[in-house]
Symmetry: C2
Subunit: 238 residues, 2 copies
DNA sequence: TTATTACTTTAGACGAGTCTAAAAGTGGAT
DNA sequence: ATCCACTTTTAGACTCGTCTAAAGTAATAA
Protein backbone atom coordinates (compact mmCIF):
# COMPACT_ATOMS: atom_id res chain seq x y z
CA UNK A 1 0.00 0.00 0.00
CA UNK A 2 2.69 2.39 1.10
CA UNK A 3 5.64 2.49 -1.28
CA UNK A 4 9.16 1.57 -0.25
CA UNK A 5 10.09 5.19 -0.72
CA UNK A 6 7.47 6.43 1.69
CA UNK A 7 8.51 3.84 4.23
CA UNK A 8 12.06 5.11 3.96
CA UNK A 9 10.98 8.66 4.60
CA UNK A 10 8.97 7.64 7.64
CA UNK A 11 11.80 5.57 9.04
CA UNK A 12 14.20 8.45 8.57
CA UNK A 13 11.87 10.98 10.17
CA UNK A 14 11.40 8.61 13.10
CA UNK A 15 15.11 8.26 13.64
CA UNK A 16 15.85 11.96 13.47
CA UNK A 17 12.91 12.66 15.72
CA UNK A 18 14.18 10.08 18.21
CA UNK A 19 17.55 11.80 18.33
CA UNK A 20 16.66 15.48 18.19
CA UNK A 21 12.90 15.57 18.78
CA UNK A 22 10.32 17.12 16.50
CA UNK A 23 9.97 19.04 14.37
CA UNK A 24 12.22 17.39 11.81
CA UNK A 25 13.55 19.77 9.19
CA UNK A 26 13.33 19.28 5.46
CA UNK A 27 17.08 19.56 5.08
CA UNK A 28 17.80 16.97 7.77
CA UNK A 29 15.65 14.48 5.90
CA UNK A 30 17.19 15.47 2.59
CA UNK A 31 20.68 14.89 3.93
CA UNK A 32 19.82 11.56 5.50
CA UNK A 33 18.19 10.24 2.37
CA UNK A 34 20.51 11.91 -0.12
CA UNK A 35 17.71 13.76 -1.90
CA UNK A 36 17.26 17.44 -2.70
CA UNK A 37 15.23 19.55 -0.29
CA UNK A 38 12.69 20.18 -3.04
CA UNK A 39 12.11 16.47 -3.37
CA UNK A 40 11.61 16.14 0.33
CA UNK A 41 9.11 18.99 0.45
CA UNK A 42 7.15 17.27 -2.25
CA UNK A 43 7.10 13.94 -0.47
CA UNK A 44 6.21 15.57 2.85
CA UNK A 45 3.11 16.89 1.09
CA UNK A 46 2.15 13.37 0.10
CA UNK A 47 2.85 12.00 3.56
CA UNK A 48 0.73 14.74 5.11
CA UNK A 49 -2.21 14.02 2.81
CA UNK A 50 -2.00 10.42 3.86
CA UNK A 51 -2.16 11.36 7.51
CA UNK A 52 1.28 9.98 8.30
CA UNK A 53 2.85 13.25 9.41
CA UNK A 54 1.77 16.70 10.49
CA UNK A 55 3.58 19.71 9.22
CA UNK A 56 4.01 23.41 9.76
CA UNK A 57 5.21 25.29 6.73
CA UNK A 58 8.86 26.30 6.88
CA UNK A 59 9.16 24.64 10.28
CA UNK A 60 9.29 20.91 9.86
CA UNK A 61 7.46 17.61 10.15
CA UNK A 62 6.36 15.32 12.94
CA UNK A 63 5.06 11.76 12.70
CA UNK A 64 1.44 11.04 13.56
CA UNK A 65 0.72 7.94 15.59
CA UNK A 66 -0.01 6.17 12.33
CA UNK A 67 3.23 7.33 10.76
CA UNK A 68 5.11 6.23 13.84
CA UNK A 69 3.57 2.78 13.61
CA UNK A 70 4.74 2.40 10.04
CA UNK A 71 8.21 3.54 11.04
CA UNK A 72 8.28 1.04 13.90
CA UNK A 73 7.25 -1.74 11.57
CA UNK A 74 10.08 -0.93 9.19
CA UNK A 75 12.51 -0.61 12.07
CA UNK A 76 11.38 -3.95 13.46
CA UNK A 77 12.03 -5.55 10.10
CA UNK A 78 15.41 -3.90 9.84
CA UNK A 79 16.62 -4.86 13.26
CA UNK A 80 15.26 -8.39 13.19
CA UNK A 81 17.05 -8.87 9.91
CA UNK A 82 20.28 -7.51 11.35
CA UNK A 83 19.99 -9.85 14.30
CA UNK A 84 19.21 -12.81 12.08
CA UNK A 85 22.03 -12.14 9.65
CA UNK A 86 24.53 -11.83 12.47
CA UNK A 87 23.28 -14.84 14.37
CA UNK A 88 22.45 -17.29 11.62
CA UNK A 89 24.44 -16.27 8.58
CA UNK A 90 27.71 -15.29 10.19
CA UNK A 91 27.60 -11.67 9.28
CA UNK A 92 29.66 -9.44 11.53
CA UNK A 93 27.81 -6.64 13.27
CA UNK A 94 29.45 -4.11 10.98
CA UNK A 95 28.15 -5.78 7.83
CA UNK A 96 24.50 -6.25 8.57
CA UNK A 97 23.17 -2.76 8.03
CA UNK A 98 23.17 -2.52 4.27
CA UNK A 99 21.70 -5.94 3.72
CA UNK A 100 18.89 -5.18 6.16
CA UNK A 101 18.22 -1.87 4.44
CA UNK A 102 17.71 -3.66 1.17
CA UNK A 103 15.42 -6.33 2.56
CA UNK A 104 13.38 -4.52 5.18
CA UNK A 105 10.65 -3.38 2.79
CA UNK A 106 10.18 -6.74 1.16
CA UNK A 107 9.63 -9.31 3.88
CA UNK A 108 6.17 -10.62 4.69
CA UNK A 109 4.54 -10.68 8.08
CA UNK A 110 5.00 -14.40 8.01
CA UNK A 111 8.73 -14.03 7.45
CA UNK A 112 8.94 -11.50 10.26
CA UNK A 113 7.22 -13.94 12.61
CA UNK A 114 9.43 -16.83 11.67
CA UNK A 115 12.64 -14.87 11.99
CA UNK A 116 11.57 -13.52 15.37
CA UNK A 117 10.67 -17.02 16.51
CA UNK A 118 13.94 -18.49 15.27
CA UNK A 119 15.83 -15.98 17.42
CA UNK A 120 13.47 -16.24 20.39
CA UNK A 121 12.12 -12.73 20.08
CA UNK A 122 15.30 -10.73 20.47
CA UNK A 123 15.04 -7.37 22.24
CA UNK A 124 17.99 -5.68 20.60
CA UNK A 125 19.88 -5.86 17.33
CA UNK A 126 23.64 -6.38 17.02
CA UNK A 127 24.28 -2.64 17.34
CA UNK A 128 22.37 -2.58 20.61
CA UNK A 129 19.35 -0.81 19.16
CA UNK A 130 16.02 -1.97 20.57
CA UNK A 131 13.80 -4.04 18.29
CA UNK A 132 10.19 -2.82 18.33
CA UNK A 133 7.83 -5.49 19.62
CA UNK A 134 5.37 -7.25 17.32
CA UNK A 135 2.54 -4.99 18.49
CA UNK A 136 4.57 -1.95 17.46
CA UNK A 137 4.20 -0.23 20.80
CA UNK A 138 6.27 2.97 20.98
CA UNK A 139 9.82 2.44 22.18
CA UNK A 140 10.77 3.69 25.60
CA UNK A 141 13.14 6.56 25.82
CA UNK A 142 16.68 5.64 26.27
CA UNK A 143 18.89 6.65 29.19
CA UNK A 144 22.13 6.12 27.30
CA UNK A 145 24.15 9.19 26.29
CA UNK A 146 27.01 9.54 23.83
CA UNK A 147 30.44 8.69 25.15
CA UNK A 148 31.46 12.23 24.22
CA UNK A 149 29.25 13.62 27.03
CA UNK A 150 31.05 11.66 29.76
CA UNK A 151 34.02 12.68 31.86
CA UNK A 152 37.40 11.36 32.86
CA UNK A 153 37.07 8.74 35.58
CA UNK A 154 33.62 7.52 34.52
CA UNK A 155 33.17 3.80 34.09
CA UNK A 156 30.48 3.03 31.56
CA UNK A 157 28.97 0.18 29.57
CA UNK A 158 28.39 0.49 25.84
CA UNK A 159 24.67 0.32 25.25
CA UNK A 160 24.50 0.78 21.50
CA UNK A 161 26.54 2.10 18.60
CA UNK A 162 25.02 4.06 15.73
CA UNK A 163 25.04 1.93 12.63
CA UNK A 164 25.24 4.73 10.12
CA UNK A 165 28.86 4.39 9.09
CA UNK A 166 30.37 1.07 8.11
CA UNK A 167 33.95 2.27 8.48
CA UNK A 168 33.38 3.42 12.03
CA UNK A 169 31.85 0.11 12.95
CA UNK A 170 34.78 -1.83 11.61
CA UNK A 171 37.16 0.44 13.46
CA UNK A 172 35.30 -0.19 16.70
CA UNK A 173 34.98 -3.93 16.12
CA UNK A 174 38.74 -3.96 15.65
CA UNK A 175 39.17 -2.08 18.90
CA UNK A 176 36.91 -4.51 20.75
CA UNK A 177 34.28 -1.90 21.47
CA UNK A 178 30.83 -3.41 20.97
CA UNK A 179 27.52 -3.26 22.84
CA UNK A 180 28.14 -4.72 26.28
CA UNK A 181 31.77 -3.63 26.52
CA UNK A 182 32.77 -1.86 29.74
CA UNK A 183 34.91 1.24 29.27
CA UNK A 184 36.88 3.40 31.67
CA UNK A 185 37.44 6.96 30.49
CA UNK A 186 41.09 7.82 31.07
CA UNK A 187 41.38 11.08 29.16
CA UNK A 188 39.43 13.69 27.27
CA UNK A 189 41.60 15.83 25.05
CA UNK A 190 40.76 19.05 23.18
CA UNK A 191 38.36 18.67 20.26
CA UNK A 192 36.68 15.80 22.00
CA UNK A 193 39.27 13.08 21.54
CA UNK A 194 38.43 10.49 24.19
CA UNK A 195 40.82 7.85 25.49
CA UNK A 196 39.25 4.79 27.01
CA UNK A 197 40.42 1.62 28.66
CA UNK A 198 38.64 -1.50 27.45
CA UNK A 199 37.67 -4.71 29.28
CA UNK A 200 40.94 -6.34 28.38
CA UNK A 201 43.08 -3.51 29.66
CA UNK A 202 43.97 -2.02 26.27
CA UNK A 203 43.69 1.71 25.66
CA UNK A 204 42.02 3.33 22.66
CA UNK A 205 41.83 6.95 21.60
CA UNK A 206 38.64 7.83 19.77
CA UNK A 207 37.98 10.97 17.71
CA UNK A 208 34.93 12.94 18.74
CA UNK A 209 32.94 11.89 15.70
CA UNK A 210 33.15 8.32 16.87
CA UNK A 211 32.70 9.09 20.55
CA UNK A 212 29.40 10.70 19.60
CA UNK A 213 28.16 7.50 18.04
CA UNK A 214 28.83 5.34 21.07
CA UNK A 215 25.94 5.44 23.54
CA UNK A 216 26.77 4.39 27.08
CA UNK A 217 25.18 4.00 30.49
CA UNK A 218 26.84 4.13 33.92
CA UNK A 219 28.51 0.85 34.74
CA UNK A 220 26.60 0.53 37.99
CA UNK A 221 23.24 0.90 36.23
CA UNK A 222 21.48 -2.42 36.18
CA UNK A 223 22.16 -3.54 32.65
CA UNK A 224 19.52 -6.25 32.51
CA UNK A 225 16.94 -4.49 30.44
CA UNK A 226 19.22 -2.96 27.88
CA UNK A 227 22.23 -5.21 27.89
CA UNK A 228 23.35 -6.05 24.41
CA UNK A 229 26.18 -8.45 24.90
CA UNK A 230 27.22 -11.15 22.52
CA UNK A 231 23.83 -12.84 22.60
CA UNK A 232 20.56 -11.25 21.72
CA UNK A 233 18.05 -11.85 24.45
CA UNK A 234 14.33 -12.31 24.81
CA UNK A 235 11.93 -9.42 24.66
CA UNK A 236 10.04 -8.36 27.72
CA UNK A 237 7.07 -6.58 26.22
CA UNK A 238 6.81 -3.07 27.58
CA UNK B 1 21.63 -1.12 -12.75
CA UNK B 2 18.78 -3.21 -14.13
CA UNK B 3 15.46 -2.45 -12.45
CA UNK B 4 13.46 -5.06 -10.58
CA UNK B 5 10.87 -4.82 -13.28
CA UNK B 6 13.32 -5.63 -16.04
CA UNK B 7 14.64 -8.55 -14.04
CA UNK B 8 11.11 -9.85 -13.75
CA UNK B 9 10.57 -9.64 -17.48
CA UNK B 10 13.81 -11.48 -18.17
CA UNK B 11 13.02 -14.18 -15.65
CA UNK B 12 9.59 -14.65 -17.16
CA UNK B 13 10.90 -14.80 -20.71
CA UNK B 14 13.47 -17.34 -19.59
CA UNK B 15 10.87 -19.56 -18.04
CA UNK B 16 8.51 -19.46 -21.00
CA UNK B 17 11.41 -20.03 -23.34
CA UNK B 18 12.51 -23.02 -21.28
CA UNK B 19 9.06 -24.54 -21.54
CA UNK B 20 8.05 -23.71 -25.09
CA UNK B 21 11.21 -22.51 -26.74
CA UNK B 22 11.71 -19.20 -28.48
CA UNK B 23 10.28 -16.99 -29.72
CA UNK B 24 8.28 -15.92 -26.70
CA UNK B 25 5.10 -14.05 -27.58
CA UNK B 26 4.09 -10.69 -26.20
CA UNK B 27 0.84 -12.06 -24.89
CA UNK B 28 2.47 -14.97 -23.08
CA UNK B 29 4.63 -12.51 -21.19
CA UNK B 30 1.68 -10.23 -20.57
CA UNK B 31 -0.35 -13.08 -19.09
CA UNK B 32 2.48 -14.33 -16.93
CA UNK B 33 3.20 -10.90 -15.50
CA UNK B 34 -0.37 -9.64 -15.42
CA UNK B 35 0.34 -6.64 -17.62
CA UNK B 36 -1.28 -5.43 -20.82
CA UNK B 37 0.28 -6.47 -24.11
CA UNK B 38 0.98 -2.82 -24.89
CA UNK B 39 3.02 -2.54 -21.74
CA UNK B 40 4.99 -5.60 -22.66
CA UNK B 41 5.71 -4.34 -26.17
CA UNK B 42 7.06 -1.18 -24.66
CA UNK B 43 9.31 -3.00 -22.22
CA UNK B 44 10.53 -5.38 -24.91
CA UNK B 45 11.73 -2.30 -26.77
CA UNK B 46 13.76 -1.25 -23.77
CA UNK B 47 15.16 -4.71 -23.25
CA UNK B 48 16.16 -4.91 -26.88
CA UNK B 49 17.97 -1.56 -26.72
CA UNK B 50 19.87 -2.86 -23.75
CA UNK B 51 20.96 -5.94 -25.66
CA UNK B 52 19.14 -8.34 -23.34
CA UNK B 53 16.79 -9.78 -25.93
CA UNK B 54 16.46 -9.98 -29.68
CA UNK B 55 13.13 -9.47 -31.30
CA UNK B 56 11.29 -9.87 -34.55
CA UNK B 57 8.30 -7.61 -34.93
CA UNK B 58 4.98 -9.37 -34.49
CA UNK B 59 6.81 -12.62 -33.82
CA UNK B 60 8.24 -12.54 -30.36
CA UNK B 61 11.35 -12.24 -28.23
CA UNK B 62 14.36 -14.35 -27.40
CA UNK B 63 16.97 -13.81 -24.68
CA UNK B 64 20.53 -12.97 -25.65
CA UNK B 65 23.31 -14.67 -23.73
CA UNK B 66 23.47 -11.58 -21.54
CA UNK B 67 19.74 -11.61 -20.92
CA UNK B 68 19.90 -15.27 -20.07
CA UNK B 69 22.65 -14.63 -17.54
CA UNK B 70 20.54 -12.04 -15.80
CA UNK B 71 17.60 -14.43 -15.75
CA UNK B 72 19.76 -17.19 -14.31
CA UNK B 73 20.99 -14.88 -11.59
CA UNK B 74 17.44 -14.01 -10.60
CA UNK B 75 16.43 -17.64 -10.76
CA UNK B 76 19.40 -18.62 -8.62
CA UNK B 77 18.34 -16.09 -6.02
CA UNK B 78 14.77 -17.26 -6.15
CA UNK B 79 15.53 -20.92 -5.79
CA UNK B 80 18.21 -20.51 -3.16
CA UNK B 81 15.76 -18.47 -1.15
CA UNK B 82 13.09 -21.12 -1.53
CA UNK B 83 15.50 -23.78 -0.38
CA UNK B 84 16.66 -21.69 2.56
CA UNK B 85 13.17 -20.79 3.69
CA UNK B 86 12.08 -24.39 3.58
CA UNK B 87 15.17 -25.75 5.24
CA UNK B 88 15.94 -23.13 7.85
CA UNK B 89 12.72 -21.28 8.54
CA UNK B 90 10.26 -24.13 8.46
CA UNK B 91 8.35 -22.98 5.47
CA UNK B 92 6.50 -25.72 3.65
CA UNK B 93 7.33 -26.21 0.00
CA UNK B 94 3.98 -24.70 -0.96
CA UNK B 95 4.63 -21.45 0.88
CA UNK B 96 8.07 -20.49 -0.29
CA UNK B 97 7.31 -19.13 -3.73
CA UNK B 98 5.78 -15.78 -2.89
CA UNK B 99 8.35 -14.90 -0.27
CA UNK B 100 11.17 -15.71 -2.67
CA UNK B 101 9.55 -13.61 -5.39
CA UNK B 102 9.55 -10.63 -3.09
CA UNK B 103 13.14 -11.03 -1.97
CA UNK B 104 14.93 -12.26 -5.07
CA UNK B 105 15.69 -8.80 -6.45
CA UNK B 106 17.00 -7.42 -3.21
CA UNK B 107 19.65 -9.77 -1.89
CA UNK B 108 23.33 -9.00 -2.26
CA UNK B 109 25.97 -11.24 -3.75
CA UNK B 110 27.26 -11.70 -0.25
CA UNK B 111 23.89 -12.89 0.97
CA UNK B 112 23.63 -15.25 -1.96
CA UNK B 113 27.01 -16.75 -1.11
CA UNK B 114 26.22 -17.17 2.55
CA UNK B 115 22.86 -18.77 1.93
CA UNK B 116 24.36 -21.14 -0.61
CA UNK B 117 27.12 -22.02 1.85
CA UNK B 118 24.68 -22.54 4.72
CA UNK B 119 22.83 -25.09 2.60
CA UNK B 120 25.95 -26.67 1.15
CA UNK B 121 25.34 -25.51 -2.39
CA UNK B 122 22.01 -27.15 -3.07
CA UNK B 123 21.33 -28.36 -6.60
CA UNK B 124 17.56 -28.09 -6.55
CA UNK B 125 14.88 -26.09 -4.78
CA UNK B 126 11.97 -27.58 -2.83
CA UNK B 127 9.86 -27.87 -5.99
CA UNK B 128 12.59 -29.87 -7.66
CA UNK B 129 13.69 -27.06 -9.95
CA UNK B 130 17.43 -26.89 -10.56
CA UNK B 131 19.31 -24.00 -8.95
CA UNK B 132 21.66 -22.29 -11.41
CA UNK B 133 25.27 -22.55 -10.28
CA UNK B 134 27.19 -19.52 -9.02
CA UNK B 135 28.89 -19.08 -12.38
CA UNK B 136 25.46 -18.85 -14.05
CA UNK B 137 26.23 -21.51 -16.61
CA UNK B 138 23.18 -22.37 -18.73
CA UNK B 139 21.01 -25.10 -17.25
CA UNK B 140 20.96 -28.47 -18.94
CA UNK B 141 17.82 -29.55 -20.65
CA UNK B 142 15.55 -31.64 -18.62
CA UNK B 143 14.42 -35.17 -19.47
CA UNK B 144 11.32 -35.01 -17.30
CA UNK B 145 7.91 -34.80 -18.97
CA UNK B 146 4.52 -33.89 -17.55
CA UNK B 147 2.63 -36.69 -15.87
CA UNK B 148 -0.18 -36.04 -18.35
CA UNK B 149 2.03 -37.42 -21.18
CA UNK B 150 2.48 -40.82 -19.52
CA UNK B 151 0.42 -43.97 -19.89
CA UNK B 152 -1.33 -46.48 -17.73
CA UNK B 153 1.14 -48.94 -16.27
CA UNK B 154 4.09 -46.51 -16.19
CA UNK B 155 5.99 -46.24 -12.95
CA UNK B 156 7.58 -42.83 -12.57
CA UNK B 157 9.35 -40.62 -10.06
CA UNK B 158 8.29 -37.02 -9.56
CA UNK B 159 11.14 -34.81 -10.64
CA UNK B 160 9.65 -31.38 -10.07
CA UNK B 161 6.34 -29.62 -9.70
CA UNK B 162 5.59 -26.23 -11.21
CA UNK B 163 5.38 -23.68 -8.48
CA UNK B 164 2.99 -21.31 -10.17
CA UNK B 165 -0.16 -22.08 -8.21
CA UNK B 166 -0.19 -22.18 -4.45
CA UNK B 167 -3.51 -24.05 -4.25
CA UNK B 168 -2.23 -26.82 -6.46
CA UNK B 169 0.88 -27.21 -4.37
CA UNK B 170 -1.10 -27.52 -1.17
CA UNK B 171 -3.37 -30.07 -2.81
CA UNK B 172 -0.38 -32.14 -3.84
CA UNK B 173 1.38 -31.79 -0.50
CA UNK B 174 -1.83 -33.08 1.07
CA UNK B 175 -1.82 -36.01 -1.34
CA UNK B 176 1.79 -36.80 -0.53
CA UNK B 177 3.00 -36.04 -4.03
CA UNK B 178 6.29 -34.14 -3.85
CA UNK B 179 9.58 -34.25 -5.73
CA UNK B 180 11.03 -37.72 -5.16
CA UNK B 181 7.69 -39.50 -4.82
CA UNK B 182 7.28 -42.68 -6.89
CA UNK B 183 3.97 -42.96 -8.71
CA UNK B 184 2.28 -45.81 -10.53
CA UNK B 185 -0.22 -44.76 -13.15
CA UNK B 186 -3.35 -46.87 -12.71
CA UNK B 187 -5.79 -45.04 -14.96
CA UNK B 188 -6.11 -42.26 -17.49
CA UNK B 189 -9.70 -41.12 -17.98
CA UNK B 190 -11.18 -38.82 -20.64
CA UNK B 191 -10.17 -35.16 -20.41
CA UNK B 192 -6.85 -36.18 -18.97
CA UNK B 193 -7.86 -37.16 -15.47
CA UNK B 194 -5.01 -39.35 -14.20
CA UNK B 195 -5.24 -41.78 -11.33
CA UNK B 196 -1.99 -42.68 -9.61
CA UNK B 197 -0.88 -44.92 -6.82
CA UNK B 198 1.53 -43.29 -4.40
CA UNK B 199 4.46 -44.73 -2.43
CA UNK B 200 2.23 -45.54 0.50
CA UNK B 201 -0.32 -47.46 -1.56
CA UNK B 202 -2.99 -44.72 -1.63
CA UNK B 203 -4.70 -43.74 -4.87
CA UNK B 204 -5.21 -40.21 -6.10
CA UNK B 205 -7.11 -38.87 -9.07
CA UNK B 206 -5.62 -35.74 -10.54
CA UNK B 207 -7.29 -33.37 -13.02
CA UNK B 208 -5.35 -32.73 -16.18
CA UNK B 209 -4.39 -29.19 -15.17
CA UNK B 210 -2.50 -30.64 -12.25
CA UNK B 211 -1.11 -33.64 -14.12
CA UNK B 212 0.46 -31.15 -16.51
CA UNK B 213 2.34 -29.45 -13.72
CA UNK B 214 3.94 -32.63 -12.38
CA UNK B 215 7.14 -33.48 -14.23
CA UNK B 216 8.27 -37.06 -13.95
CA UNK B 217 11.02 -39.41 -15.14
CA UNK B 218 10.90 -43.18 -15.56
CA UNK B 219 11.33 -44.93 -12.25
CA UNK B 220 14.24 -46.98 -13.56
CA UNK B 221 16.13 -43.87 -14.67
CA UNK B 222 19.05 -43.28 -12.38
CA UNK B 223 17.69 -40.52 -10.19
CA UNK B 224 21.00 -39.42 -8.73
CA UNK B 225 21.50 -36.27 -10.70
CA UNK B 226 17.99 -34.93 -10.51
CA UNK B 227 16.65 -36.51 -7.38
CA UNK B 228 14.80 -34.03 -5.27
CA UNK B 229 13.81 -35.95 -2.22
CA UNK B 230 13.37 -34.54 1.25
CA UNK B 231 16.89 -33.18 1.43
CA UNK B 232 18.49 -30.78 -0.94
CA UNK B 233 21.81 -32.05 -2.16
CA UNK B 234 25.12 -30.69 -3.27
CA UNK B 235 25.67 -29.21 -6.68
CA UNK B 236 27.88 -30.88 -9.19
CA UNK B 237 28.94 -28.04 -11.37
CA UNK B 238 28.09 -28.76 -15.00
C1' DT C 1 -8.40 -14.35 -52.84
C1' DT C 2 -10.56 -12.11 -49.48
C1' DA C 3 -12.73 -11.61 -45.07
C1' DT C 4 -12.62 -12.59 -40.31
C1' DT C 5 -10.34 -13.08 -36.10
C1' DA C 6 -6.68 -12.85 -33.06
C1' DC C 7 -2.53 -10.75 -31.86
C1' DT C 8 0.83 -6.86 -31.76
C1' DT C 9 2.29 -2.36 -32.06
C1' DT C 10 1.70 2.70 -32.03
C1' DA C 11 0.05 6.90 -30.03
C1' DG C 12 -0.87 9.42 -26.34
C1' DA C 13 -1.80 10.02 -21.44
C1' DC C 14 -0.86 9.51 -16.55
C1' DG C 15 1.08 8.93 -11.68
C1' DA C 16 5.14 8.47 -8.88
C1' DG C 17 9.30 10.26 -7.59
C1' DT C 18 12.92 12.93 -8.77
C1' DC C 19 15.55 17.16 -10.33
C1' DT C 20 16.89 22.38 -11.27
C1' DA C 21 15.98 27.13 -11.00
C1' DA C 22 13.68 30.68 -9.00
C1' DA C 23 10.71 32.75 -5.49
C1' DA C 24 9.41 33.14 -0.73
C1' DG C 25 10.05 32.90 4.14
C1' DT C 26 12.92 32.91 8.62
C1' DG C 27 15.93 34.57 11.92
C1' DG C 28 20.11 36.48 13.53
C1' DA C 29 23.37 40.44 13.24
C1' DT C 30 24.07 45.05 12.62
C1' DA D 1 14.36 48.11 12.13
C1' DT D 2 16.58 46.43 8.30
C1' DC D 3 19.37 43.44 5.83
C1' DC D 4 21.69 39.25 4.78
C1' DA D 5 22.39 34.45 4.68
C1' DC D 6 20.23 30.38 4.91
C1' DT D 7 16.29 27.32 4.48
C1' DT D 8 12.06 26.01 2.39
C1' DT D 9 8.71 25.99 -0.99
C1' DT D 10 6.92 26.56 -5.70
C1' DA D 11 7.04 25.92 -10.63
C1' DG D 12 8.03 23.26 -14.15
C1' DA D 13 10.36 19.51 -16.42
C1' DC D 14 11.92 14.71 -16.91
C1' DT D 15 12.09 9.40 -16.63
C1' DC D 16 10.02 5.06 -15.82
C1' DG D 17 6.57 1.89 -16.07
C1' DT D 18 2.01 1.62 -16.77
C1' DC D 19 -2.63 2.10 -19.11
C1' DT D 20 -6.46 2.70 -22.98
C1' DA D 21 -7.78 3.29 -27.57
C1' DA D 22 -6.79 2.92 -32.17
C1' DA D 23 -4.30 1.13 -36.01
C1' DG D 24 -1.55 -2.41 -38.18
C1' DT D 25 -0.23 -7.38 -39.17
C1' DA D 26 -0.78 -12.37 -39.51
C1' DA D 27 -3.10 -16.47 -40.05
C1' DT D 28 -7.06 -18.94 -41.28
C1' DA D 29 -11.45 -20.12 -43.14
C1' DA D 30 -14.61 -19.40 -46.72
Amino acid sequence: MLSDVMEDYLKTIYQIQARSGPPVSTSAIATALDKTPATVTSMLGTLEERGLITREKYKGAELTREGETVALEVLRHHRLLEAYLAERLDYSWSEVHEEADALEHHISEEFERRVAAALDDPAVDPHGDPIPSADLAPLEDDDATPLSTREVGDTVVVSRVSDRDREELEYLAEAGITPGTTLGIVDVAPFGMVTVETDDGGEQSLPESIAEAIYVVDADTDGTDRDAGSDVQEAGNA
